[in-house]
Subunit: 391 residues, 2 copies
């Protein structure tokens, strides 16, 4: 199989853009990515998005966004895997490049939660859960994550204050990220005193609701990638070295273990094996911290620490800038923001920029191997990618 | 690249199943397909579906349907391309097999339009059109197709009676298809006198609203395909010899030509080139006749006849059983039924059964090369596949 490289990335700032439609937001990111790749024309487009049917009242999203990005006519479709739609779209797009069905593939993520103020975002996001076994009985998506957080805190004896160091650090990093939705520092006191959402989760333990779009351009073959790198004045390449995807039951009641993201364990082992790496080799990682609990579970299930230890080690300063791996220097979903189906593409764009040394916020310490982990639902889907810097 | 073969197919009857949930319907089809493939276990699942977010109030569909089909844990995601979701899912699934990301890939289509009687199917289907340029102004999906039908009839001088031979023949074929939603013959008189939906389209000119699920199993490599064929008592293989996908603007106002499905022209030429065939080589074809006009345009834009001649030739008996190509012996969307995101997968399953000589309805005349054409929107998306019988 030919090797596949990321040659362009584009992102919009994350926020609530009442003055901009979803299609405008997407084309902003896609045009940036194409420019970043020296103007190479994508031959196919895969779009990651969760809520367009409900909140934008728009299907046919792949063709619509191709057209609005100046790419009318190319193969294009939307991929849905709840909050993991971006990672899943990348999985599908990588496959198109690797199979030779297209030599240049664009993968874009879009979520526009503020398109239509008559619809409920909370209700739309609850569609990630099982309609018949969970939502029908009144469960919200935050409520389900709260169950997991409570079980974890009970089992390992952690307090709300112990857990609060995740959002604390994410806000600190986000304060330097020009794309972040919440670019401001906070304090443990403010986190603990923030309004309750679903016990034990308070406002500052959760990622915010925001709009955003991100895009990456993939090319097949080292020669083409070198040509683009040269034309754009870069002397390194970023290669997609490994990728893994896995799923689990949608409803939490059917899970093997409430406190292990089995899909993350499986997807990461597939990706590590393909890339020929171990967790200890990874320099930089962006994990899916939709809630603080999700971030801690990710560190454990990706194999960076043992079950039950992530909170303690994090509080002691592990996984911060200068450690290995460095985690979520973007500010994470928690503070960079979480435009649902775009999040997985943001993570890949950020990891690419870190490997290039071009990330405009908190910079990683000269990373060579990076990973991203994007979740849909409460661990229903996980896609893990391994990116490497190639001289 | 390794060759890719279809080794299993499964379908449900199409109808309005108020007593069966979407997940049940899907697993019926998927379990049949796996059994048809001698019990081989899929390693990845791609689901084609349009309306689950709105009508089933369910996202995370890929993982949910994998789980309910006994495939918990495998990579799985949903693909949306409006009514062309099934074909687009096949495109993505074929890519996973061809790239070697999975050796055995299941592609399933599901649409459950009767899941939730509080929602409007007409409104849900209108999401295929452009929300800002079309739907907002009151256009329904049938209304948009009616514009095209009217323009075609005006330009080429056809009457409603001329056009009515499409549904007439589709009902005749469907009367022999045990999976068809409308398995009964009709008459020109009945078609002409059926209630008006959107002038000039009357009820019998349109495909019906129905639920259904279909699945196919792909394997990579001739050796594995031969092994499964042997185990299931078959001496032929069905190979995916060509595939093409293309898109167009969503809104009709931006089209180059209202009476040409540019996406069908492009997708078919890509698929023909890959397969090394010309339209005249194709023995059998299933086209996307959501309305009679769509069927006629398909025949022209796939290159089987010239612009404006499809209606005349069809009325004279062309494209019927015994001709080349034979068209829609299933009964087509018109009478077999059109479970939106499942339709593209039904077509591929039917073409596979025709190539095997196992189709349980009207049989094609010993076909060797078959094609399917699946559309999303009013020609916004087209996927064309070329399947061949290999001894």
């Amino acid at each position: 199989m030919d090797r596949v490289f990321i040659v362009g990335v584009g992102m919009t700032k994350i926020g609530r853009f009442y003055d901009k439609s979803g299609r405008q937001l997407f084309s902003d990111a896609m045009i940036k990515a194409v420019e970043d790749a020296g103007g190479v024309k994508p031959q196919a487009l895969v779009v990651g998005n969760m809520t367009s049917s409900v909140l934008m009242e728009q299907d046919s999203l792949g063709a619509l966004l191709a057209d609005y990005s100046g790419l009318r006519g190319i193969p294009a479709f939307k991929v849905e895997a709840a909050c993991g739609s971006g990672g899943a779209a990348f999985y599908a797009g990588y496959s198109l490049a690797r199979s030779g069905m297209a030599d240049v593939v664009a993968v874009g993520g879009l979520e526009k939660l503020t398109e239509n103020l008559t619809s409920s975002v909370t209700k739309a996001l609850a569609l990630a859960a099982d309609q018949e076994y969970e939502v029908f009985y009144g469960a919200s998506f935050t409520g389900l994550n709260a169950l997991v957080a409570r079980a974890y805190m009970n089992k390992y004896g952690y307090t709300r204050e112990d857990m609060a160091y995740w959002p604390l650090r994410m806000h600190e990093y986000a304060s330097k990220n020009p794309y972040a939705q919440l670019p401001r520092k906070t304090t443990i006191e403010r986190i603990l005193n923030s309004p309750i959402i679903a016990d034990p989760l308070h406002l500052f333990d959760c990622s915010p609701i925001g709009d955003g779009a991100a895009a990456v351009i993939l090319v097949r073959g080292e020669e083409k990638a070198r040509e683009i790198a040269k034309a754009t004045g870069r002397d390194i390449l970023v290669e997609v070295k490994g990728i893994g995807m896995a799923t689990d039951s949608v409803d939490l009641g059917s899970r093997r273990d409430l406190l292990t993201l089995d899909s993350t364990v499986k997807a990461s082992r597939t990706a590590y094996k393909m890339a020929g790496v171990e967790p200890r080799n990874i320099d930089y990682v962006e994990v899916h911290d939709a809630f603080h609990i999700t971030g801690y579970l990710a560190l454990e299930d990706l194999g960076f620490t043992e079950k039950g230890k992530a909170v303690k080690e994090w509080k002691e300063g592990r996984f911060a800038k200068g450690d290995k791996p460095e985690v979520n220097l973007s500010g994470g979903l928690k503070a960079r923001g979480h435009p649902v189906g775009a999040t997985g593409v943001y993570q890949i764009a950020e990891a690419t920029l870190q490997l290039r040394g071009e990330f405009p916020g908190e910079k990683a310490s000269d990373p060579v191997i990076a990973a991203t982990q994007n979740i849909g639902g409460v661990g229903t889907f996980t896609t893990v990618t391994i990116l490497t810097r190639v001289k």
